[in-house]
């Protein structure tokens, strides 16, 4: 029985065996890695997104409920358009600021 041997395969296997036998000295590498380790993510990015989104939704509903139900956004838009700084306008700015903060936090996590 004839076996076809590939000399390239043999050369690569020989060189790879030599490569695996050689040891790369640690030389402080492990310490550098351990020093650079940050805190491990305790919750996943998706979970964090849902928590932040949930808090934002609840906060929005609270603000809408406490400031006159569905008219909150209309009132706020009218007040801002007429440069009147009412409670609705302040709440609207707070809502926008919260949404921006959530977006930045989510983008940063990714």
């Amino acid at each position: 029985m004839n076996i076809i041997r590939d000399p390239i395969d043999d050369m690569l296997k020989g060189d790879a065996a030599q490569h695996r036998d050689s040891y790369v000295d640690d030389d402080g590498f492990t310490l550098r890695v351990v020093d650079a380790l940050g805190p491990r993510a305790s919750i996943s990015t998706a979970m964090r997104f849902f928590i932040l989104g949930g808090i934002t939704l609840v906060a929005t509903l609270c603000v809408a409920f406490l400031s006159g139900g569905g008219n909150f956004l209309v009132d706020a838009a009218m007040d801002i358009a007429t440069s009147t700084m009412t409670q609705a306008a302040v709440s609207f700015f707070a809502l926008v600021a919260t949404l921006i903060a959530v977006s930045i936090a989510t983008a940063h996590d990714r």
Partner: protein, 196 residues
Amino acid sequence: MSERKLTGASAGYTDSDLIGRVLLRDDRNAFAELVRRHQSQLRASLRKMTGGNMAMSDDIAQESFILAWRNIKSFRYEAKFSTWLYRIAFNCWQSEVRRKHEVPMDGNAIHEAEVTAPESDLTGVRRDLLRAMEDLNDAERNVIVQCYYNDLSHEEAAYVLGMPLGTVKTHILKAREKMRAKLAAYRPHGSEGVAA
């Protein structure tokens, strides 16, 4: 580097035990033991992928271990820890190459790699083998590194490189064909039909 030493109490544990300790207790000593165990093979493998660029390969290795630490929760034991590490390292290497917009392995890189090794360590055949690898494209070279130098199966290489199994096999065949053409002078007489 400081004289500070990490405790070696974790040395007798398996990789799975150490991963469990990291997951349960955020045990940095356990993770340090994982780093100590796998750093040599990972750094050597990256040196092959970067054509001997030691600074780049060590940076990528460090980044890979840090990512492994952060995402160890996503390790599902579907592969060996080392294979999972190779996958992270390959992704880091790809990002680095994209970021730098350069092909990491060129003639200069090979020369740099050779300069770091004592002249006597490099036989003529080995030197020519390295030069033959220069002619391979990134995908072919990566498949050769994973399958030969990291001793992975074709399936494991497909997992690490994120490519279909058939593509891995095709790249291996093409890579060997290119290297055969380059190293034709080393084909020993009678090697094409050796009686078993």
